[in-house]
Symmetry: C6
Amino acid sequence: DFLSALDEVRPAFGISEEELEQCVQNAIIKFAPFVERILSDGQLFIDQVKNSSRTPLVSVLLHGPPGNGKTALAATLAMSSEFPFVKLISPESMVGYSESSKMSAINKIFNDSYKSPLSVIVVDNIERLLDWVPIGPRFSNFVLQTLLVLLKKRPPKDRRLLILATTNEKSVIEQMGMSDCFNSEIYVPNITDLSSIDVVLRELSLFNEDERSRVLDKLAGQVELKIGIKKLLMIIEMCRQDVDKVEKFTNTILKTYRKSDLDNLEIEFD
Amino acid sequence: DFLSALDEVRPAFGISEEELEQCVQNAIIKFAPFVERILSDGQLFIDQVKNSSRTPLVSVLLHGPPGNGKTALAATLAMSSEFPFVKLISPESMVGYSESSKMSAINKIFNDSYKSPLSVIVVDNIERLLDWVPIGPRFSNFVLQTLLVLLKKRPPKDRRLLILATTNEKSVIEQMGMSDCFNSEIYVPNITDLSSIDVVLRELSLFNEDERSRVLDKLAGQVELKIGIKKLLMIIEMCRQDVDKVEKFTNTILKTYRKSDLDNLEIEFD
Amino acid sequence: DFLSALDEVRPAFGISEEELEQCVQNAIIKFAPFVERILSDGQLFIDQVKNSSRTPLVSVLLHGPPGNGKTALAATLAMSSEFPFVKLISPESMVGYSESSKMSAINKIFNDSYKSPLSVIVVDNIERLLDWVPIGPRFSNFVLQTLLVLLKKRPPKDRRLLILATTNEKSVIEQMGMSDCFNSEIYVPNITDLSSIDVVLRELSLFNEDERSRVLDKLAGQVELKIGIKKLLMIIEMCRQDVDKVEKFTNTILKTYRKSDLDNLEIEFD
Amino acid sequence: DFLSALDEVRPAFGISEEELEQCVQNAIIKFAPFVERILSDGQLFIDQVKNSSRTPLVSVLLHGPPGNGKTALAATLAMSSEFPFVKLISPESMVGYSESSKMSAINKIFNDSYKSPLSVIVVDNIERLLDWVPIGPRFSNFVLQTLLVLLKKRPPKDRRLLILATTNEKSVIEQMGMSDCFNSEIYVPNITDLSSIDVVLRELSLFNEDERSRVLDKLAGQVELKIGIKKLLMIIEMCRQDVDKVEKFTNTILKTYRKSDLDNLEIEFD
Amino acid sequence: DFLSALDEVRPAFGISEEELEQCVQNAIIKFAPFVERILSDGQLFIDQVKNSSRTPLVSVLLHGPPGNGKTALAATLAMSSEFPFVKLISPESMVGYSESSKMSAINKIFNDSYKSPLSVIVVDNIERLLDWVPIGPRFSNFVLQTLLVLLKKRPPKDRRLLILATTNEKSVIEQMGMSDCFNSEIYVPNITDLSSIDVVLRELSLFNEDERSRVLDKLAGQVELKIGIKKLLMIIEMCRQDVDKVEKFTNTILKTYRKSDLDNLEIEFD
Amino acid sequence: DFLSALDEVRPAFGISEEELEQCVQNAIIKFAPFVERILSDGQLFIDQVKNSSRTPLVSVLLHGPPGNGKTALAATLAMSSEFPFVKLISPESMVGYSESSKMSAINKIFNDSYKSPLSVIVVDNIERLLDWVPIGPRFSNFVLQTLLVLLKKRPPKDRRLLILATTNEKSVIEQMGMSDCFNSEIYVPNITDLSSIDVVLRELSLFNEDERSRVLDKLAGQVELKIGIKKLLMIIEMCRQDVDKVEKFTNTILKTYRKSDLDNLEIEFD
Ligand SMILES: Nc1ncnc2c1ncn2[C@@H]1O[C@H](COP(=O)(O)OP(=O)(O)OP(=O)(O)O)[C@@H](O)[C@H]1O
Ligand SMILES: Nc1ncnc2c1ncn2[C@@H]1O[C@H](COP(=O)(O)OP(=O)(O)OP(=O)(O)O)[C@@H](O)[C@H]1O
Ligand SMILES: Nc1ncnc2c1ncn2[C@@H]1O[C@H](COP(=O)(O)OP(=O)(O)OP(=O)(O)O)[C@@H](O)[C@H]1O
Ligand SMILES: Nc1ncnc2c1ncn2[C@@H]1O[C@H](COP(=O)(O)OP(=O)(O)OP(=O)(O)O)[C@@H](O)[C@H]1O
Ligand SMILES: Nc1ncnc2c1ncn2[C@@H]1O[C@H](COP(=O)(O)OP(=O)(O)OP(=O)(O)O)[C@@H](O)[C@H]1O
Ligand SMILES: Nc1ncnc2c1ncn2[C@@H]1O[C@H](COP(=O)(O)OP(=O)(O)OP(=O)(O)O)[C@@H](O)[C@H]1O
Ligand SMILES: [Mg+2]
Ligand SMILES: [Mg+2]
Ligand SMILES: [Mg+2]
Ligand SMILES: [Mg+2]
Ligand SMILES: [Mg+2]
Ligand SMILES: [Mg+2]
């Protein structure tokens, strides 16, 4: 039957394993309950594609602020499906492509997926695939129209496809009329509580026990913490170079936290 | 005479049967009276083309919110005509086409139709054929001008043509000056009553009798239900994976119904 | 002399007779006095071109709402001139042409006309020749500039030319700075009185005497009727398929008339 | 010396006599004092170019409403100079040219003029040479920049050039930054008095003495007459076809005069 | 050493002498103190380039209303430097160049200058080099970006460059972000006093002593005189053709002066 | 191990030493404390790249007003890293490149850097690389999208990269959505105190002791001094040509200081 036929077919299809692992260079740290819930919800979509013949196409959008782990989560889910066809569509592999080469590359991956009974495609960083820039705005309508069709195009008979897309710019999705292309949306939040930071600090062993509790004491009672996991990892490594790691880490986090509207660490001189 | 000549000619013309059936993958469920009325009204236009030599061109636009079955209905009508030439013009078969290839493909289908005494052309998803995007707006004026002429161009002597077009974006049709191109418009509504949902649930056997009546009890008295058949089918299949199907279905419908302005199921984390 | 030389030259020049007759598929019904006045005024311009050597170029614009017979009237006038060169420039014969092919095709017809002592050119549907769309607006400036020059360019010595142009969008003509290109403008109105409808009904024999008088009784006293001859013909043929033609015709006209701002017959479901 | 050298050189340079005469098909009628003043002022510029070595380039712009004789006057002046090089740059000879062909053609004529000791170039209908359209506005910046340089570029040593340019759209000249390119501007007005009309009527013998005085009586006392010579000639020839020429002429002039804001003769039906 | 090495190198580099002299056809008349001050200030920049190795690039912008002598002054300064490499970049030598040919031509002159120990480049009429037009505005961003880099690019070791640029449109320089490209700006004013006019009239011998004093008397006490030297020369030559030169000159100057906002001499008819 | 492997690899990679030194033609004068702090902060980033395997990509933006030394500082830091791969991406080496050549050149340098275990890339003058102009604004979206990806793209396993970018137009960075691309930002201020000027004057020996103290006295008490080091160097060299250097320097600084909103030294005439 359909499912047993899978195992045999599998070797015939490529899986961009290396690329996908590159997306999760620093592993997935389970620093908050939502991390596990995103992973288990994702599993449900994988099951639906495996089991229901009435909905051969399921598409999901991961969205949220920059640097909070969307790409790493999508890649982790894709690899966990163990489908015979798992591919990544990413702007990083298309630097300098013309609009039409980009379109062809995207189209090829979708067409290849239609040959596998079960497939996952990760469509990473949609606004970058579209060459989108807020001024104008400008974007490649050619790539957009390609995605608007492919994200909704039913695979042929006896073929099923899960699409995991990511974006930092949910508003772009709406402006471009793409909302309609996704059956579900998963919001990936920033880190907003000290206990998450605590888990990450332990995992990366920046401090010893004593230092860590000093840091958490200093940070406790501060309000409106909001930081992506990617930036937190960068701050930790920066502080590792410093003589007074406790001081440096606390200050940097506090500075970031006080002007939470700025995206970067600003070094100023009086 | 004209009509008897039909049968012989027939085999000479292609009918894109497979493509058209692909559009009706989940059959047509007669969940509400309007479904049958659309089908019978469509039959009248088929008759007019067959019988009146004064109006050799009749063009009809099916419009309404996304995912309510426009494409499936147009395809069903086209196939039911049993005309010797029945073709689908669809963005899905033109992914990555340049403006001029798209134009040529469309033009070819119209020119081919002029060789058959009786033809139906389904022009699916006009705004996508136009590469339309609300920002700007941008669109292919080249394809637009082609359609503006072809949708009004009388077939040559002794040739007759029925055009069935679909769109999600009636306002696009107006902005583009295309309203003038259609002799009739058929509005395809969303599902807005529980009895329609009941019919669909029975048809797809998601629940047993008992479960179904529990679900309907829970939903009764809720207001402003508005859902497309396509999304309803997606929700049913999603719930099929869940342990507590009654709970999951009721909740999902209620969530959708409460925030009827959102197009997707949003999974949020606190 | 000049006029007698005509007859000999004639066979050397093409007349696009078939194309022009195609424009008048349903003949000209003289349903109102204005129909005859347009035809006789047109005759005056034909005479002026034939007789006056001081004005070797006369250009006339027929304008008015869509579907009221402009193209059929222009074609009828052109054919009635019996000039040796009578040609149609129409968007329908240029589907998918590039801007420059369109320009060449137009330019060739004008240059050919300069070889005939007497010529008529019908320039049909100017806004479509310009690839005009209200959004933007966008249009082909290349074709526009070509027309702006050709519509005013005096034919060479001993050559005379009558230009009959049509448009649905008088405002386009103004916005494009083309008003200056026409010596005269003829407004073609919609049908606004029952007696015109009566003439058309008789001509097409939709009803017997009795039915027709019932229909006119029902419609009498209704206000603000406004319908193009083309749509009236479409409604008549649609009703011909129906069992109760009287009922269907009356209702459709009344619906159209009550919402005279809509361009199409809308079929709605409650 | 310089002036005597002229005669010998002359045959070596082309004069586009035929084209220029084509611009004055209906001769120059001296219907008002301003006609003669324009001709004598033009003569002064011709003299300056002939005599002053300090100003080897003189450029003059004729502007005013459409159809008042600018092209005919510029062509007449150019021919009267009797310079060895007299050329016309006109949109009519460049129909369908690409921007760069147009630019080359213009540039060639200027470069050729630099080989003649004395030259006149008529640059007719600048806004049309620029492919200018009020919407946008759009225009060929390539041709514009070419003109902006060529209209100010001093001819080489011992070469002198008079430029006579025409436009209907003085505001275009200003918007495009071209005002700076002309040393002088001559305004060509419309006809605004009956005595001018009288002169023209006599010249063209439309009426006998008696008819003419009846016409003038009828028109006398009417206000705000404003008509271009070109349109007046068209009306006269139109009326020549009519049985009652007096009636037709008076009515057409009065209609035009009453709605002086319309550019064309509108034929309306009630 | 560096300076002595100059003389030998010199012959190896081109000087566009002819072109530069063409820019000063009517010589430099020292009609006001500012003329000499501009020339001496320019000399200081020439000295700085010759003597200081710390600032191998000095760039100066001459700006002011049209026709006041900017190009003639820049050319005069360039020639007076006696540097081995003196070149003119001017729109007049690039008529009809494509954006990229223009860019190449400009780039070549800069690259050639880097081979000479001491160079002057005159960049004439920047807004024209940019194909700038106020509507839009439109301009060649390709040429602009080239200039933005080249005007600031330090010559290689032991090479020094003086750039003299001119523009009529200081605001263009600012809008384009070019202000930053110039180390100094020199404003060239219009003529605003009678004594300057007196000097010019003497120099060109339009009048005899008596006539000149009559003219100056008539003009004395008039306010807000504002005229460029180029237009003054044109008026003088125009008047030279007239019988009553005193009358003509006074009137023309007074007319110009009264409507100082108009750029041209307008000839009007009542 | 990793670090010891470096020395061997080194010779295999290019360092654009000459180009980088060209950026620091006038050396780095330590005229204020912030100069040293920028240099030491830069060193920390160099260390982080050398030591932390978790953050293989660190990107820093130097921003501030024009001419304050950003490029010289970035080049100095890059050279001080002593990494085996140190390259400059600068608009000056890409004059006249097409968008795609520019993109290729940039892409090549990044791809080359991925072959070195440790690399520094200086991305100089981002707004110029983007062909950015404030009007519109216009810019190369192709180059922008390339940078948006490359500035965030993680180098492959065991490769590490430090990016030092500069810009005068921080607002451009924000409008273009590039803020997200930098981990840190360093603001480079203008000179705002006399003691900094004093240091620079000593270093360049423009005055003797006495003159310098006279200058400082004159300038003392003046408010809101704001000058870039590049312009200060230009003024010093300009004054060196003058007879009265004290007077000239004081006046120029005061003039600049009084109209601190102007970017250039304006020479005016009354
Ligand atoms: N719980 C987690 N979820 C996601 N990423 C995690 C988690 N824990 C650690 N990481 C690490 O954090 C980094 C997240 O980076 P990632 O590129 O996925 O973020 P992103 O949201 O896609 O960023 P961008 O908005 O720039 O695309 C990865 O290196 C990943 O290994
Ligand atoms: N009564 C019905 N009418 C239409 N479709 C139905 C009906 N009952 C079941 N279906 C199924 O619902 C689905 C409707 O999808 P369809 O693609 O036609 O919607 P659509 O309105 O064209 O969507 P979109 O707006 O995305 O183009 C089809 O799979 C069809 O088989
Ligand atoms: N009096 C009439 N005048 C014009 N057409 C008539 C008349 N009577 C009958 N007809 C028929 O009506 C139709 C008019 O269609 P036609 O294409 O000329 O309209 P149109 O105004 O050009 O439409 P559109 O605005 O779409 O270009 C023709 O089939 C013609 O034969
Ligand atoms: N006094 C006159 N001045 C100019 N043209 C005259 C005069 N008398 C008669 N004519 C005739 O009037 C016509 C004027 O047409 P012309 O093409 O020169 O007008 P125009 O102003 O250039 O028109 P447009 O604005 O369309 O370019 C010519 O046929 C010319 O022979
Ligand atoms: N003092 C003067 N300064 C400059 N030009 C002078 C002077 N005296 C006489 N001239 C003459 O005046 C003319 C000035 O013209 P020039 O082309 O230099 O003006 P411009 O400001 O560059 O004009 P444009 O704004 O059109 O570029 C030249 O012919 C020059 O010989
Ligand atoms: N402390 C300093 N910091 C930077 N540059 C200095 C310093 N002291 C002297 N300089 C010299 O000042 C000049 C600074 O010029 P640089 O091109 O680096 O400025 P910039 O800010 O990059 O200018 P732009 O905004 O035009 O790109 C160099 O010649 C440099 O040698
Ligand atoms: Mg990501
Ligand atoms: Mg559809
Ligand atoms: Mg028509
Ligand atoms: Mg003209
Ligand atoms: Mg100049
Ligand atoms: Mg710099």
